[in-house]
Amino acid sequence: MWRYCLRRILQLIPIIIGVSFLIYFLMDIAPGDIVLLKMGDNNMTAEQIEALYEQYGLNQPLPVRYLKYMGRLLQGDLGISQATGEPVMDMFMARIGSTARLAIASVLVSIIISIPLGIISAVHDGTVIDNVASFGTLLGLSIPNFWLGLVLIIVFSLKLGWLPSNGDDGTIKSLILPAITIGTSLTAALGRTTRSSMLDVIHQDYLRTVRAKGASEKIVIWKHALKNAMIPILTVAGEQFAGVLGGSALTETVFAWPGTGRLLIDSINGRDVTTVTGLLILKTLIGSVIILIVDLLYAAVDPRVRARFANSGRRKKK
């Protein structure tokens, strides 16, 4: 088990190297750079421009800059933002709280909607009810996020005055609208997983035994079946959590949410290579660790999976 964890963590190393190179490369071919942006309309002399490039370490070729960056990264230093002069790590830490809270709330919304719908759909497999429930889980996915966000703001903040329209004041109230906006787009995958994994379980022999013992259908489904169908559901929820942690930039913009997503978009626009690369490395790391934890929980719950961990060379995610 520990060997397995270690292997998974070691596998992260090439991923991080790859991610950082890809981003470094992309930001390098992007038109403009931080010096040109800082320059704005100024008519600088060649020496002044040269000095600025040197100040930002941009006067060297891409491979040299990248290797230097990686050298620092090995020592655990994510570097200093070129735009603000703050350490990237500090900027990340200042914003991750808001993003994490939003991610947790979003996945909760997704779970609250999709698990009941998925179960209903599985129980009434093939009927109109199944179709309606599946349709329900799909709805959120098909509405562009920013539009849904704006409409929610208009209805719940402006017309009804129930909830704040933007920002993170640390209360649950300010979380609700952005969490619904993101959460509803996640229900499709989670509902689908719930449905199929419930279908898997529902017709198995042990449930027949439970039924034969006279348990009501409600108990059969919600207690016995759901418990056994939970593993894939939790896996998907875990992956979704990791996903929202990484990429809720749009919703953060609409709700003026002070999270990492907005910082990232701004950094891309500001050609702040260090911040963009640092943020994406952190997001990749956190995402992978969360998925690892989910997998480990999975193993803790299910002896079959544990056995597979112990002797399989590589595990494939499907």
Binding site: A30, P31, G32, D33, L36, L37, K38, M39, G40, D41, N42, N43, M44, Q48, I49, A51, L52, A83, T84, G85, A94, L150, I153, I154, S157, L158, G161, P164, S165, N166, G167, T253, V254, F255, A256, P258, R262, L263, D266, N269, G270, R271
Partner: protein
Amino acid sequence: MKRVLALVLATIMALSLVACSSGAADNSAATQADAQSATEAAKAEAPAATEAAATEAAVPEVEYKEEVIIGTDTKVNSLDIQENCAIASGYIYLMTHEPLVHYYEGEFFPKLAETWENKDGLEYTFHLRKGIKFHDGSEFSADDVLFTIKRAKENPTTHANVKAFVDTIESVTKVDDYTVVFKLTEVNNDFLIDMSKTGSLGMLSEEACAAAEDGYKYGTGPWVNSEFFAEDHITVVRNDDYWGELPVTKKVTFRLIPEASARLIALENHEIDVCIYPDASEYSLVEENPELDMFTYTSGLNYIFYNVDQAPVDDPNFRLALAYATDNQQIIDGALGGYGVPATTTNSLTAVSFFDDFESVGQSKYTRDLDKAKEYLAKSKYPNGATVTIQFTTGQREIISQILQSQWKDIGVTVELDKTDSAGRAAAKQEDKWQAYLASVAYTDAGNSFSETFVTDGGTNQMGWSNARVDELFKQCAVETDEAKRYEMYKEIQSIIHEECPAYPMYYALKAIAYNKKVSGVKWESRGVMEFAYAKVEK
């Protein structure tokens, strides 16, 4: 129980008093909002708003909130006041930093300098206020003035406009700790206005800047920089040691809410107190809301800049053909919902040097006239039309580009749209790979700041345009003291620009700042440089 009732009654009475006074403010604002002529509205409104503030302040026993929250649309990238000249950053700099002299609606007031005198327009002596401390505790003296100018001259990231101004200062000498003498390279009639710009020449502490890299964030103003969270909020807190009048409010937060609709909703929902730049399409919502008010003013001049080194816009006749194919009113209607004033010349609408009577000098105004446009096109190097790529960065300009695309099609000019971001624009400019670019320039002083757009290598001269006669005339204008002679020269400048059309003036946007009627104390300003230092919100 009785006491509670009495309290409630008292509160109701107090509230109704407040309501009456703000009702009066409402009337004046409503008529202004209706006024079609934007300049007049802007001019009339400023005193009205201050008057309203005065009457409100007179109402006894009004309690104010501890915090004022202002929703903005523009990210402020840095607290370095010399790096940024944008109006959005100016809001904050005006609160934290102070210049030597203060300029408000045509008049000068002492700030960090108590008095000043001017000898032959080339030498200014400032007598500084004593006993003023920067936020970091260091004392303000003549050395700091010297340092501030020196830093602006030497720092490579100093904004072009600031740089252009400080370069006209030959030397600053310290007579004693509280007296400095500025010597200018040439007479500059706008010297004091330039000196009053907080964005550029708020005083910095030499000591603080030496001690810390971000020492520039310490000023002498009534507000101290507290939190800087560029893409979310910037907070300033009251400087309790301030030398002048202390603000009532304890904390002012500028919250960045990028979506215009969301920003206005936040104001209507009482989450913010002031909403900078609601979208023009939603002005009507502000007007309909009895709780809200709006301050409107005409802002920067929106141009089509042409890269005069690039075919096909290198040919003045071709540019003129485009000019006569363009209909400004259509642009204003389509992209701004009618909230704009068509531009007729390349100068600020409120400037004394404004001139657009081109018929009087044998020219004709730019109006959509397809025959004339085709005439110019036939005279140009590209008589069969050509393809022009328009570069732009914002959604509104995306619409303008589409309107231009449609208008210019009528004379056989094809338009390609090139949407980019500011970094992409910076790169295109650096590599000289662009043809036309949509941008606005805010001329925040009355005199010659539009010179920066048209002199060779001027700060906002994006076009690479250069005209020896115009350079010469601008030079003379700066030293000429006879108003009439100056105006003649400005006339000639604008007429030359009109003939060459390196930059086509489209419109002045009618900008607005919406606010809750409970807000008072804001110094509204017709150039858009609002001062929020004494803003307060009734509880």
